[in-house]
Amino acid sequence: MKRVVIGVVSVAGTGVVVGRWLASRRRASSPVKDPRAQHRWMAVTINCHPDDVAPDGRLPRPLAQLDVEVRVEKAPGDRGTELYARPRAPVPTGRAAVLARLRGDHPREMVRTALRQVKSLIETGEVLRPDPDLTRERPARAGRARAKVVDMALARAAGEERL
């Protein structure tokens, strides 16, 4: 293995870079707390005819497995079909919500992921799988601590955003 350092090694390690980035690039937040955050509809727009979203009234698999309320509407112009969904049961709040998001079983997160998968399945016939993570397979090295910072950033970024 060859290890060559390019140019001047910056004093700022990746951790610093990521920290700085997180601090400086927070999402433009609204001054008003969303009063409907718990039950707002989440949606994807699918490039197909409304009839092709739920043929015979049956929801595509990833959504059908969840306890959700669903709405289908024709999108304006040539934009296809709007598919809306939200969990039927009340969602966890406070500490329970934070833990659920960390575990990856927060009902809203699951619905959001399912909506994305449904869109991709209908449009392309598959859900693209990410390349395997090489960082984790690697034995301990100086990069591990820095990788953690990015992992945290990635995990934190899994907030609920526009789909």
Binding site: M1, K2, R3, V4, V5, I6, G7, V8, V9, S10, A12, G13, T14, V16, V17, V18, R20, W21, S24, R25, R27, A28, T45, N47, D78, R79, G80, R116, K119, S120, E123, T124, G125, E126, V127, L128, R129, P130, D131, P132, D133, L134, T135, E137, R138, R141, A142, G143, R144, R146, A147, V150, D151, A153, L154, A157, A158, G159, E161, R162
Partner: protein, 391 residues
């Protein structure tokens, strides 16, 4: 297999990593024949692009041979020589159907980050951070190409690897700047940056009918190369006042279309540079939009500015007043390569578009850290280093 991995700011290593495999039915595995450095990689190396992890394989502009196809690949078979677009599109979402491929809605498996930071996500890109999907890059012996029917393009016979290679990223990016910047016959076009992207933008402007094209940079060898191979007029911005020079060369109007092909690490002169450097030291702002500012000031009232250089966050002192009051159209995008690549390959085959001169250095993958050092510091006249994994 061997691969070039990002380890941290200004640190690359060559490592052994597992070979890629087919993960989706529409994937192909490509044996990389040629893969090149791009200015965008410098932003990764500089730590300006978020969400890189140590061990990430970099590289996104490449050409190779298909060695394996998933069961749902229809248009390609093993043995095909293909150029692969640096941007990954699904070909079937609304954005792809409208030729806005870098906005593909299905090719980025980790869209959350971009949605948080930009209010919307963009397509997956090879070797370009977890914000763009975390796909492994092309500076490796093999690479997995998702949605292969849409992202790989057959290379016409007789076109050399090192010519076709640049239709993956530099050439379509430059073409997009001129095309979506609205270049029309009779226009005067100014291009900031004489790297691979800027040179391709200048050539595209000419082929789209611009009457005069003026390229701006500071490296004498890049300026000379652009004058010789692209045929544009050049300005060395360290030797003169660019704004005054452009006004004089355009009858006082300013260029109709200004294309920025520099990006967030732009080099600057004078007080502006000191201000930006101070902010950089204080970690207030990372991105340096000198060329964008200059393009907006230079542009004729009612003209258009296209930002090809990559930016990632916010910038200060953006000349919003000049943009608004002069009635400019300002656009930018990651490249929508798929709409141009077949046409560009044809032009390369016909000799209308010359790209091979960009490959100033050819090296093995093992030499990548050295190659990037040369590319970053623009040593030895380096414009692009091409890595050949078979060397």
């Amino acid at each position: 297999m061997k691969a070039v991995c990002w380890q941290g700011v200004d640190e690359l290593t060559v490592e052994r990593v597992p070979d890629p495999g087919i993960l989706n039915g529409q994937d192909a595995i490509v044996k990389v024949l040629a893969t090149t450095t791009c200015g965008s990689d410098l932003h990764l190396l500089g730590g300006y692009v978020s969400a890189m992890r140590p061990g990430d394989v970099i590289g996104h502009e490449f050409l190779g041979e298909i060695v394996e196809t998933g069961p749902d690949v229809r248009r390609h078979r093993p043995g095909d020589r293909v150029v692969v677009c640096s941007i990954i599109g699904c070909g079937r979402c609304w954005a792809c159907r409208h030729d806005l491929w870098s906005l593909c809605e299905n090719s980025n498996p980790t869209p959350d980050l971009a949605e948080t930071l930009w209010g919307g996500s963009t397509a997956g890109v090879f070797g370009f951070s977890h914000m763009m999907g975390g796909f492994h890059g092309s500076h490796a012996e093999f690479i997995r190409v998702p949605f292969a029917d849409h992202n790989a393009f057959p290379v016409p016979e007789g076109v050399e690897d090192t010519s076709a290679l640049f239709t993956s990223d530099a050439a379509p990016t430059g073409w997009m700047g001129a095309d979506l910047g609205g270049v029309k016959p009779g226009d005067v076009v100014a291009v900031w940056g004489c790297g691979g992207v800027g040179q391709m933008a200048a050539r595209a402007a000419m082929l789209l009918g611009a009457e005069r094209v003026i390229s701006i940079d500071r490296f004498p060898e890049r300026l000379a190369m652009t004058a010789r191979h692209v045929g544009s007029e050049v300005i060395d911005y360290t030797a003169t006042d660019v704004l005054a020079e452009l006004r004089e060369r355009t009858g006082g109007r300013g260029p109709d279309v200004c294309i920025e092909a520099v990006g967030m690490e732009a080099h600057g002169l004078g007080p502006d540079q000191l201000y930006e450097q101070a902010k950089h030291q204080l970690k207030i702002e990372q991105e340096r939009p000198f060329a964008v500012r200059e393009a907006i000031f230079a542009c004729r009232p009612g003209g258009s500015v296209f930002i090809l250089g990559v930016f990632s966050g916010t910038v200060n002192r953006f000349p919003l007043g000049a943009m608004m009051n002069k009635g400019l159209t300002v656009r930018g995008a990651q490249q929508h390569g798929h709409r141009y690549i077949p046409m560009l390959l044809d032009r390369v085959a016909r000799g209308e578009l010359v790209t091979s001169h960009l490959a100033t250095h050819i090296m093995s993958l093992d030499e990548a850290p050295l190659g990037y050092d040369m590319f970053k510091e623009k040593k030895d006249g380096c414009v692009r280093v091409v890595f050949r994994p078979d060397m």
